[in-house]
Symmetry: C2
Subunit: 350 residues, 2 copies
C-alpha cells in the first residue's frame, strides 16, 4: 500500500516540503503533468528545483508501453538518474508516472512486466497527485498499459506510489462530463464488485463507503460545491482500496472490448456499457440513469453502428477473454449464460 | 501508513511465507504473544524458525516504558539483533511490539521518545496481528506508553507496522466483555471524532464506516457469528485510519484521568465514562446503552467512590491537561464550559 498519504484542501502547497527529503544530490524531480494543464496556473504552482523538469504528458490516449519506454529512455539519457517521478493528473498520468518510475530501474521494456509480480526492482521515488477523482489509480498496485500484444497492468508490490497528495482543490476545474465519467468509474466498480461472487469484508467495507459517497455526490440535492470534490476524492481512494480483494464484472469486460477496438477511454466506455446493463445490475443501472439525468450528462450512443462482423468478433474475443470478470459477475457457469450471440446483441446496443 | 496489509479468514496460516523474505541471516523473529494465549493452541500455530523465540507478554497493565526498555535490552543481550518483532494480541501487545522494535535501533530509553516525531531511526521489521478488534493499534502511528512522567505515545513516521495480518478467525475466542470493551473503544472514538470540531473528509469517511460497522455488529439482530468478527476487525482498521485527521473528546479526556490514578484500562475506562455522557453525546450514549443491554454487558459502577479530594484533584488535573480533546469536543471556549467543579461532579458519578 501507499506508505505516505496526505489529504486536505490546499495540501498541494506542502509539496516542496514533502519532496525535500526525497531529493538525491542534483538528480532532478520530474513532474509529469497532464497536458490539460498547459498554460493553466497549476503548472506555475509546482515547486520546481533548479534541476527539475516538467514534462507535459499527452494522455489523449491511455498510456502505452512504448510511451513509457520512450519517457524512461529520454530521462536516463538526459539525467542518468532522477530523484523521483511526480504524476499530476488523471488516472492515465498517474499510471504513466508509476510505470516510468519502475522503468528507470528495471531493464528491457515495460511490456516485459505486464502481468503479476514480474517487476524485479523497486522504481525511483514516485508520488501521485490526482486532479480528477474516481479511477483509484492513486492507490492501486497496478498501472494499466496498452502493449504490443495486450492491455494489462504491471501488477506488483513495487507499483504503488510512495506518496500521494490528495488535495480536492485540484479537481475544481475538471470539465463536468469528464468528472462524471471518471466518478462513474468508481461507482460502476463498486456496483460490480459488491454484487459479485468474489468479495471479502475488507473490500466490501471500502466498496460500500465509496458507493455511498458517489451516491451522495451525484444524486444529492443542490449544485456542485467544494464538499462534492472532497467526497469524490475520498470515494476514489476508498474505491481503489476496495480493489484489493474484489473483482469487477460485465461493464468492465465489455468495455475492454470497446477500448481495444475503438480506443474508447475507460471512464466513458464503462458508462456507455453500464447504461445498457439493466439485466445484470438492475438497481445500479436505475440509479446510474438518475445520476446521468441529474448531472445533465450525455452518454454517447450508437458507437458500434456500422462495424463489420469481424470487428464485432474482435470485441467479443477480447471481452470473453476476461474470464475472472465474467465469473465474478455470473458465477462459475458463466459460459452458459453469456454466449457469443448474447454478447454480440449487447455490443450492437452500444 | 502500514505498507503491507493482508486481510482474510485463515490468513494467519500464511505467516511463515510472509516472514520468510524478512529473515536476516540467523537473527531470530521474536513473537510477542499476549499471555492470554499461554497453553492455548495459537502458540503452537506460530511458524517458529530454529532461532526464533516466543515471549509471552504480560499485559495485565498497559505497556510501560520500563517494560519496553527491559524487553529491548534483553533481546539485544541475547541476540545482538533480531530479524523482526511480531506482536500477536490486543492493543497493548501491538503497542509493545511497535515500541520494542523501535528501541532495538534507537539509543536511550523509550521515555525519551514520548511525543511527536522524536524517534530518530527506523526500528527493526515489525508486524502486528490483532486477536481483539477495536483499538486501531494495528494501523496507528503511535504506541501509547506509561512513562515515568507521562502517558504518551511514541508518535512518528517510523512507528507503524511494516505488515499487518488481519485474520478475523483469531478473535473467535475473545471473552465477550473484553470484546465489547475493545469494540467500544472504536465506537466511542468515532462518536467523539464525528461530532467534534476537528475533522476532514478523510477521517469522516473512515469514521462513518467504522461507526456503521460497530452498530451493525453490536446492535444488529441475532447471535454473534463469524461475520461479526469480520466486520469488527474492519471497524477497528477503519477507526484506526480515521485517527489521522481527527481527535477524540470528553470520554477519552476523562478516562485518561481514571487510567492515571486507578490504572483503569483504556477500553473499559472509556465505557465507564461514556455511560455518563448523555449531556455531550446524546445520540451516541443512547445507542451505547442499547448495545450494553443487547450484549448483556455490565459496565463497572462507583469506581471513584471513597476517593480523597486529593485523588479527585489528580484525575481532574490529568484530564484538563488534554486540551486538544476538550477543544475538539466543546470548542475554543471549552474552559468556560468545563470547570473543575463540573468535572469533579462527573468523576463522582463514575
Amino acid at each position: 500500500m501507499v506508505s505516505y498519504v496526505v489529504y486536505g484542501r490546499g495540501s498541494f502547497n506542502q509539496l516542496d516540503e514533502i519532496l525535500a527529503p526525497r531529493r538525491v544530490g542534483k538528480s532532478p524531480m520530474i513532474f509529469l503533468l497532464d497536458h490539460f494543464f498547459q498554460n493553466k496556473p497549476l503548472a506555475d504552482r509546482i515547486p520546481l528545483g533548479p534541476h527539475d523538469k516538467i514534462i507535459f504528458a499527452d494522455v489523449s490516449y491511455e498510456p502505452k508501453t512504448k510511451q513509457v519506454d520512450a519517457l524512461a529512455t529520454q530521462l536516463k539519457q538526459e539525467f542518468g538518474t532522477v530523484s523521483g517521478i511526480i504524476g499530476i493528473g488523471g488516472g492515465s498520468v498517474m499510471d504513466l508516472a508509476k510505470a516510468v518510475s519502475l522503468m528507470m530501474n528495471n531493464p528491457g521494456s515495460s511490456a516485459d512486466y505486464q502481468g503479476w509480480d514480474l517487476v524485479k526492482y523497486p522504481g525511483v521515488y514516485k508520488a501521485g497527485i490526482p486532479t480528477l477523482s474516481g479511477t483509484g489509480a492513486e492507490v492501486s498496485r497496478t498501472t494499466v498499459l496498452t502493449g504490443p500484444t495486450r492491455k494489462l497492468g504491471m501488477n506488483s508490490d513495487f507499483t504503488p506510489f510512495d506518496q500521494i497528495v490528495l488535495d480536492p482543490e485540484l479537481t475544481i476545474n475538471a470539465p463536468a462530463n469528464q468528472r462524471f465519467y471518471t466518478g462513474m468509474d468508481c461507482y460502476i466498480h463498486c456496483i460490480e464488485s459488491l454484487t459479485g461472487t468474489f468479495l471479502n469484508e475488507f473490500s466490501k467495507s471500502y466498496g460500500e463507503k465509496a458507493l455511498n459517497l458517489c451516491q451522495e455526490v451525484f444524486m444529492g440535492e443542490g449544485d456542485w460545491g467544494p464538499e462534492h470534490d472532497d467526497k469524490l476524492m475520498m470515494a476514489s481512494y476508498a474505491g481503489g482500496m476496495s480493489i484489493a480483494y474484489s473483482q469487477v464484472g460485465v461493464a468492465h469486460a465489455v468495455s475492454y472490448g470497446l477500448g481495444y477496438l475503438l480506443g474508447t477511454k475507460h471512464g466513458v466506455g464503462n458508462c456507455i456499457v453500464f447504461d445498457k446493463l439493466e439485466e445484470y445490475y438492475p438497481e445500479g443501472v436505475h440509479d446510474f440513469k438518475k445520476m446521468v439525468d441529474k448531472n445533465k450528462i450525455e452518454i454517447p450512443q450508437h458507437i458500434t453502428r456500422g462495424l463489420s462482423d469481424e470487428q464485432f468478433d474482435t470485441m467479443i474475443n477480447v471481452s470473453l477473454g476476461m474470464k475472472p470478470l465474467w465469473e465474478n459477475a455470473l458465477g462459475a457457469d458463466w459460459e452458459r449464460k453469456m454466449t457469443r450471440e448474447k454478447l454480440r446483441a449487447l455490443f450492437e446496443q452500444l
